[in-house]
């Protein structure tokens, strides 16, 4: 019986490259179809004037981007989102870190707390928004406030603090930011707790042997070991907070003047209200680029900190 000899080209370097390309093809195709192509279409649309229905579009070049640069409401919405993000980065992540530290210790019912702290993130944003709206309601019936917060402020004698929380430009955005933190701290908590549990306990013991107190141990052992996790939490917080909008809609409807507008709401308004799909896409591209820049910025910081 003759031995079957495989053709020579099967052993060539070119065929190897082809095989490698073939194996990556499914992933590349999926990435192209679901990421590259939509992004291309959005960018292409952003250079057109189109009402979303008509079969024809008008090419306007970079006009939509130029108009966007002078759109004060758009930049105000960006500032509002940045404000929510700032509150989330500080308040939300500090609470998450503090609770993660508490649950990392040997305390009673720590498993119960872990479950409880993770309830807000799994709730629907609409439900959370409506519940908090009910808590922050300002109306009165029969001389009693029916919003839970005002009711208790009134009951405990803090009448001067009673407020129309969601219709006051001074407090509306802060209320949304606080509720956003309440809803989101569970994610940070879980990730930070997981990070804390990966720290080698021997490091703490060594620090204790060296005479370090709790604060020194936290500052010199916990924080440096947690830097990579903290950076991931920070990036996710920034991306999540900048894109908040369901919560805003369920708490203040279409917004309190422009004091509670956020970028996604403006994009929706351009698309659904004015039917300017091209302009909405220009907003989307602009917003996406800003988020990419923020992520890259944090990535650079992360790399530098790792090197240090």
């Amino acid at each position: 019986m003759n031995a079957i000899t495989k053709p020579k080209f099967l052993y060539s370097k070119g065929f190897d490259t082809f095989k490698n390309f073939l194996f990556t093809l499914p992933a590349v195709s999926i990435f192209t179809i679901f990421y590259i192509l939509p992004f291309y279409f959005i960018f292409n649309l952003s250079m057109h004037e189109w009402n979303g229905i008509s079969p024809t579009m008008t090419f306007v070049g970079l006009e939509n981007f130029a108009e966007l640069m002078g759109d004060e409401i758009w930049w105000k919405s960006m500032w509002n989102a940045a404000y929510i993000t700032l509150i989330a980065l500080t308040l939300q992540n500090m609470v998450a870190f503090a609770l993660a530290l508490a649950c990392d210790r040997d305390i009673r019912m720590k498993k119960f707390y872990r479950v409880v702290f993770f309830i807000p993130p799994v709730l629907s944003e609409v439900v959370v928004g409506l519940i908090w709206r009910w808590i922050l309601e300002a109306g009165k019936q029969g001389g009693e406030y029916y919003g839970l917060l005002n009711y208790y402020l009134h009951k405990i004698g803090l009448v001067s603090l009673v407020n129309d929380w969601l219709s006051d430009p001074e407090t509306a955005l802060s209320c949304i930011a606080v509720v956003h933190c309440w809803k989101g701290f569970g994610w940070g908590f879980i990730m930070l707790l997981a990070g804390l549990q990966t720290i080698d306990k021997q490091l703490y013991e060594a620090a204790r042997v060296d005479g370090a107190n709790s604060w020194q141990t936290f500052k010199n052992v916990t924080v440096p070991m947690m830097v990579p996790v903290i950076l991931v939490v920070v990036i996710l917080t920034v991306l999540g907070s900048m894109q908040v909008f369901v919560l805003v809609m369920s708490m203040v409807g279409q917004g309190l003047v422009y004091h509670t507008d956020v970028p996604v709401l403006r994009i929706l308004s351009a698309m659904d209200g004015t039917k300017r799909f091209g302009y909405a896409c220009a907003m989307g591209v602009n917003f996406g680029l800003i988020l990419i820049m923020v992520s890259v910025f944090f990535k650079i910081i992360s790399n530098r900190m790792k090197q240090a």
């Binding site: 229905i53 309601e137 409807g253 917004g255 309190l256 003047v257």
Partner: protein, 432 residues
């Protein structure tokens, strides 16, 4: 191992080929099934019941597919782009969008059907409701004149008053003028009752309320001239419209938080007797009945400011459906809509859903409060029947301006100036 790998690869290839073939193949459609997309979450069971009755009578199945109201408009637009619109659907948007759908060939013209048998179908329905679906000769959208949709119920937006709370404050009758209304507000405040509640977190409602006063203060001609760009928003009459809100706000007529209140919350407030007056559409009869069946209330026009022009209210077709122009079952879809708007079906639909029927003859069996709403159908007007519509950017500025006035952030003059600036920007863009 090699054999297993070969079998696995073969299966994978077959699966991919089958997938490709099935996606390329045309879906077989049942010629006796008409698909209708709607957003009427509270009326799905009634619609389904009517569809079942229609099947019993004609053998034609009408498949009712319900979608979330919040996402319905986007779904329709996306389906139009993908050319997968159903046989019957509704366009929940401005007349301009409606015109774009017609212009793009997604909506069938129904004029001929309405005119058949001496216009029997057209005559059976409220004219104002038909007009919402009609494009007149020389319309600004350049749409071929005709009727393009079928109204299945009608609606109008008025003010409501709680009889018990008014009596408690010693108010004998519902106020008819703004001065009377402000006196009533004072009386209500003395007994600790809030005045007016409405869902102005949904800004179109505040815009509609302002529009009522615009009609009362300056009449339709001047409003249209403003939308066209001939009269500025800084005109004294427009400032008068903005001042209505300032006056009401300064008198403490609004319930706390009105500017961000969603209409569902506002409806709850009125149903739970937290406010004496509400501004809401006729659909509220069903909502209030479900929330508080014992609520005693009446219907009134918004209190007038001037007497030169009548107070007009927003209204017309509440729900309209159109037929897909490229549907192969176009005639079957039209036949179903004709049947749906007949007296018998309309009476059932109205009775079960507590909404005003589009068929005039079906009015006989509606509740008293709905009758009061129906009496004012002659006073209705709506952006969908106006010659000109305001651009969304300007409307948004206008509605946000109303919020600013209510919360005391800006004066009517400042808001008028800002709205006019927005109008000028839009006109410049449109000219480009």
């Amino acid at each position: 191992m090699k054999t297993i790998n070969r079998i696995f690869c073969l299966c994978l290839c077959l699966l991919v080929t089958a997938g490709l073939l099935s996606s390329c193949a045309q879906k077989e459609e049942d010629p006796n099934t008409v698909v209708m997309w709607h957003w009427l979450t509270d009326r799905q069971s009634v619609l389904q019941e009517l569809a079942d009755r229609y099947k019993d009578e004609t053998g034609i199945t009408v498949k009712m597919e319900l979608f979330a109201p919040t996402a319905y408009s986007q779904r329709i637009i996306a389906s139009a782009q993908a050319k997968v619109l159903p046989d019957i659907y509704g366009i929940l948007d401005k007349k301009q969008t409606f015109a774009s759908f017609i212009d793009s060939g997604y909506v069938a013209e129904l004029t001929e059907e309405f005119e058949k048998d001496n216009g029997a179908w057209e005559k059976s329905l409220f004219e104002k409701a038909i007009n919402v679906n009609r494009f007149e000769e020389g319309n600004v959208y350049d749409v071929k004149p005709g009727i393009y949709g079928v109204p299945v119920d009608v609606t109008n937006t008025q003010m409501l008053y709680n009889k018990k709370l008014l009596a408690k404050a010693g108010i004998a009758k519902a106020p008819e003028t703004m001065d009377e209304f402000l006196v009533a507000i004072e009386a209500l405040k003395r007994v600790g009752i809030s005045g007016l509640v409405s869902g102005w977190g949904e800004s179109w409602m505040a815009g509609a309320f302002a529009s009522n006063y615009a009609f009362n203060i300056m009449g339709e001609e001047k409003i249209m001239a403003t939308y066209k760009g001939d009269v500025p928003y800084t005109d004294p009459d427009w400032i008068k419209v903005f001042r209505v809100f300032q006056r009401l706000s300064q008198a403490g007529a609004f319930i706390e938080g009105i500017v961000t209140k969603p209409n569902k919350f506002a409806e709850q407030d009125f149903a739970l007797e937290r406010a004496a007056f509400a501004y809401n559409g006729s659909w509220c009869v069903n909502v209030y009945h479900n929330m508080n069946p014992d609520l005693e209330y009446g219907v009134m026009l918004p209190p007038a400011v001037e007497s030169d022009y009548p107070m007009l209210i927003w209204g017309g077709a509440g729900t309209s459906f159109v037929v897909n122009a490229s549907s192969e079952k176009k005639q079957k879809a039209i036949d179903f809509l004709k049947w749906f708007t007949e007296k018998e079906q309309q009476a059932y639909f109205s009775k079960e859903t507590r909404n005003l029927p589009a068929n005039k003859e079906a009015l006989a069996s509606i509740p008293e409060v709905l009758e009061d709403f129906a009496k004012m159908m002659d006073r209705t007007t709506h952006p969908t029947i106006w010659k000109y519509n305001e651009d969304h950017v300007v409307s948004e500025k206008f509605e946000k301006g109303l919020q600013s006035i209510i919360i005391g952030e800006k004066t009517p003059e400042q808001v008028a100036q800002e709205v006019q600036e927005a109008k000028e920007r839009v006109m410049k863009r449109q000219a480009r």
